[in-house]
Amino acid sequence: MSSVNVDARYLLCPLPVIRTQDQAAGLRPGDCMRVLCTDPGVLHDIPCWCRIHGHTVADISRQGDEIAITIRVGDGGAIPAGSVDVSDV
């Protein structure tokens, strides 16, 4: 299992999603990505992207303007919508 960081700070959506998608293409199921962002739009877009590609949002945290989203790469099967509640982040 490997873990990689994606720096998508100061990029506006959908660029953080594109950077995450491109990084995920080189990873295997079970690998993790930690995506750092500043556009609050990612709180919706990255979990949505994960759901349709079968990845799991393992954690979302926020410190000041920075948002960190940890994603566990899936095996390609879709997972149910709304598996992570981001309403309080």
Partner: protein, 347 residues
């Protein structure tokens, strides 16, 4: 066992592409979506910058569409390649700097490349004859198919019945009778079909998805090209054209004035690259100065900037001016009145 045919659907995030993909999925085709990011897309970042857009759902509509359909979506960054479409469109512009027909050809060509690389069989597009004034005229439908290289592997399910049969229809991968015959500018058939499928809360249709269709944005882009003496841009250029008031009081420089707190925060990210100023005696916006300004120009810029501060009616406003090298100085200026700022300064 019969072959599972696969189609890549151009997903803009609007209703037409949603319905077109759904039509093909209903016939048992495996569909994946593709969405191109040009840098001029209205959604995505606009809501992140301006308060006035916050009533809109905070979402990327293409991702939302993909989730409604239960398909994968591949978002492709085409910012660099797309420049040639904007700068030198073979078929010219629409009402503003929108190169809609070239754009469609380019996107279908990119989808074709993806289709071939991934071993898919055909391309699905949500075009409707007559829906848009340039790119979706009947006469231009074959132009897109031909110039993109997709030819008869490009299927427009919403108006397929009034177009010549495509390869998937002729080969029986798709039943032509089950495809549609939408035509013209009315959105009612699409809205009725959306109701039938139970799609709600879809993005409001047609025309508002690209900044290049906006007159004011196009004017700012023209000004940028004219000032630089060349038709070129990078991502930061086209992002900054979306933010703030832009005023060009003299040929050598323009001002970008934040209109609200969220725009000021966005402009903050750029301040080290520009001479910038902010009022310190009163509340007011961050102002970036793009270009070269002499001492007289700087004072004029400060007086304009002061006009947009809370000190607009004061006799004097103190502006803190920071150079690109980080040096800071203060200028005490009399704010210009509204009448002293000619309308033609506004881009």
């Amino acid at each position: 066992m019969s072959k599972q045919y696969k189609a890549v659907a151009l997903i803009s995030g609007g209703l037409d592409s949603l319905l077109a993909a759904r039509q093909v999925m209903e016939q048992g085709i495996h569909v994946e979506g593709i969405n191109f990011y040009t840098g001029f897309c209205v959604e995505g970042h606009t809501h992140a910058i301006r308060k006035q857009h916050r009533a809109r759902p905070r979402r990327n509509n293409a991702l939302w569409v993909a989730e409604q359909l239960g398909i994968r979506l591949h978002i492709i960054d085409i910012i660099e390649e797309y420049k040639q479409v904007v700068i030198n469109p073979r078929h010219g512009y629409g009402a503003n700097l929108n190169p809609c027909l070239d754009c469609k050809v380019f996107m279908v060509r990119k989808a074709l490349d993806w289709m071939n690389a991934q071993g898919f069989d055909f391309i699905v597009s949500g075009e409707v004859i007559g829906q848009r004034p340039k790119s979706q005229r009947r006469v231009n439908m074959p132009v897109v198919a031909r110039e993109s290289g997709a030819h008869d592997r490009l299927v427009r399910p919403l108006c397929a019945k009034i177009l010549p049969p495509t390869l998937p229809e002729r080969e029986g991968w798709l039943e032509r009778d089950k495809l549609l015959a939408f035509n013209g500018r009315s959105r009612k058939p699409q809205m009725a079909l959306a109701d039938q499928y139970g799609f709600e809360d879809y993005a409001q249709p047609a025309g508002g998805c690209c900044f290049l269709t906006d007159r004011q944005y196009s004017r700012k882009l023209s000004d940028l090209w004219q000032t630089r003496g060349e038709r070129d841009y990078d991502l930061d250029d086209i992002m900054l054209l979306k933010v703030g008031r832009h005023l060009r009081p003299r040929p050598g420089f323009k001002l970008i004035v934040g209109r609200e707190e969220s725009e000021n925060r966005y402009l903050e990210g750029y301040r080290r690259r520009f001479v910038h100023m902010i009022p310190v005696s009163h509340q007011g916006p961050l102002v970036l100065l793009d270009g070269e300004a002499g001492a007289d120009d700087l004072e004029l810029a400060a007086r304009i900037a002061a006009r947009f501060s809370k000190g607009r009616d004061a006799a004097e406003v103190t502006m803190e001016v920071t150079g690109k090298d980080g040096t800071v100085r203060k200028l005490m200026v009399a704010p210009l009145s509204s009448a002293q700022i000619p309308q033609e300064w506004y881009l």
